[in-house]
């Protein structure tokens, strides 16, 4: 007979992950995603906090729907390969005593980009973060990985200004699946940030789906005309009309930050003069001052 206490005990075995006998102690839940739950945990061997991402259910064990466990393994492998300051590092990967797969990663303190941007940040600071996201994504592309779910919620801005791109669970790994735009014929991503070819599940969708998503993110950052033009070009519905890679997008944003002309925006003469005036404010002031002084002196000492 199963007594009441035993029934409670056995039920509890299905609710949370079983980390008994491992080096980790669960502390609290940091967040929940489609495939798993991220826990704040203590690594007792190294006496430090880590984040544990664990498949949240045991359904995978019966292979009825499957997928979450393999997606977690896929994500862990991608993260392990992408060693970059803008991509969260993986410390460990394995199976818990209850059969759930997990991976341990650096615990990042800070704010999600969407929360971070609601506070009082100036445009240069926001664009600085955006460029660091671009840098991480460009690095991933160079290693054959397409994120496919870029959005502010998947970017963490740390306490010391570090910027980390998270949630690589639906990323396409071209090194393993050459030419595969969508994995397992599934349409993945977040509708508001999805390029049309990604939303359609086109097999030839490529890294430019990330360019599109970054364009949507950029739209939320600032409303200056050149920035709007850059975002519009990045999120063009025709992939061939977009920036052809993230570096080109980042270069245009950097030009805007430096007060230079951007490729995506044709300026009117007055705008151009205004921009040049702002960019060369000090030399222009010096020249003007010099000219005024010169004129005054000429007038004072006229013969």
């Amino acid at each position: 007979m199963i007594s009441e206490p035993a029934l409670n005990r056995l039920s509890a075995m299905f609710r949370g992950p079983d980390v008994s006998g491992t080096r980790y102690e669960l502390v609290s839940v940091l967040g929940r995603g489609g495939m798993g739950v991220v826990y704040l945990a203590r690594d007792t061997a190294l006496d430090r906090e880590v984040a544990l991402k664990i498949v949240d259910r045991l359904v995978d064990e019966t292979h009825a729907r499957g997928g979450n466990a393999s997606a977690l393994a896929h994500e862990a492998r991608i993260l392990a390969r992408l060693e970059h300051p803008g991509i969260v590092p993986v410390h460990d990967f394995g199976e818990l005593p209850d059969g759930r797969l997990f991976y341990a990663m650096k615990r990042v303190r800070g704010d999600r980009l969407d929360h971070w941007m609601t506070s009082d940040r100036d445009l240069a600071e926001r664009l600085g973060v955006f460029l660091r996201v671009c840098d991480a994504v460009a690095f991933a592309h160079a290693h054959g990985v397409i994120h496919r779910d870029l959005k502010p919620e998947n970017v963490m801005v740390g306490e010391f200004g570090e910027v980390l791109v998270l949630d690589w669970g639906v990323a396409a790994d071209l090194a393993r699946d050459p030419g595969l735009g969508t994995r397992d014929s599934q349409i993945v991503g977040t509708p508001d940030f999805m390029a049309p070819e990604q939303a359609r599940g086109d097999a030839d969708a490529d890294h430019r789906v990330d360019v599109y998503a970054l364009g949507v993110v950029l739209e939320t950052i600032g409303d200056a005309a050149p920035l709007v033009a850059i975002a519009r070009k990045a999120r063009s519905s025709d992939a061939s009309a977009r920036y052809q890679d993230v570096r080109a997008l980042a270069a245009d944003v950097s030009r805007f930050l430096a007060g230079r002309a951007v490729g995506a925006h044709r300026e009117r003469l007055v705008d151009r003069l205004g921009r040049v005036g702002r960019r060369y404010r000090l030399p222009i002031l010096l020249v003007l001052t010099y000219l005024v002084v010169r004129v005054v002196l000429l007038w004072l000492f006229r013969v």
């Binding site: 007979m1 199963i2 206490p5 035993a6 056995l10 039920s11 299905f14 008994s20 005593p97 059969g99």
Partner: protein, 226 residues
């Protein structure tokens, strides 16, 4: 199981029905005892008669998984059946001398005595809990068989003494378990983890058998792991 119950082949249907009865006879018996205030003998007769009638009349063939959980559907059928049977008051005619299933009334009664039956005020939750108890008991039985078949008796003994212990105060420590079974503390940890992993797998397997569709299985497993 629920799909197989609709099979035109009698042997397939009968086999699925046996699985269903194994999973549900005890929750049905206890539910009839408590909700319908039946005596143990009457509850045993009603349980027998309910499953017999369900098999003969294909009660469960009209179950639509998109509208309700199978458990809820079964309970509604049961309520209707007992209500009609009470009105007709024809106990012998219901089941007669035919015995479709084996019911251990003594065991079910012993469990009932331990469960403070007066405290039941939500019979839906009660039925669910009894079904869960039956599911776990069945998986524990399968675990015992699997461990014995593989010569891993100690693994099941650990699980039985630690996780199936009656009261929390009766649970031995890992050190006590190690002493009792002549194992190292590390072996206790590893074997217990392996037993739990196997138990969880068997529960999910049994749950899968009981569900008609992937969606129902998904919903049931979500409820179990929520």
């Amino acid at each position: 199981m629920v799909v197989a119950i609709r099979s035109p082949r009698t042997d397939v249907r009968r086999s699925a029905f046996d699985t269903l009865v194994t999973a549900y006879w005890k929750p049905v018996f206890k539910y009839v005892r408590l909700k319908w205030h039946a005596t143990p003998e009457d509850a045993a007769d009603l349980t027998q008669a309910f499953f017999l009638r369900a098999f003969e009349k294909d009660f469960f063939a009209s179950f639509d998984p998109s509208r309700a959980r199978f458990r809820t559907y079964l309970r509604l059928c049961l309520d209707g059946f007992v209500s009609n049977a009470r009105k007709a008051d024809a106990r012998l005619k219901r089941g007669g001398a035919v015995r479709l299933i084996s019911i251990d009334v003594g065991e079910a009664e012993r469990e009932l005595r331990h469960q403070a039956p007066n405290a039941v005020d939500d019979f839906d939750a009660y039925f669910h809990r009894e079904w869960l108890r039956s599911l776990f008991a069945s998986a524990a039985g399968r675990l015992r068989e699997a461990c014995v078949a593989r010569g891993r008796e100690a693994r099941f003994a650990l699980f039985e003494q630690y996780d199936l212990a009656g009261e929390d105060g009766e649970r031995p420590t890992y050190a006590e378990l190690a002493r009792r079974l002549s194992l190292s503390a590390a072996d206790v940890t590893n074997e217990l983890a392996a037993a739990r992993r196997e138990f969880r797998r068997l529960v999910m397997e049994a749950l899968r058998e009981q569900c008609a569709t992937d969606e129902e299985f998904e919903a049931e497993s979500r409820a179990l792991t929520a």
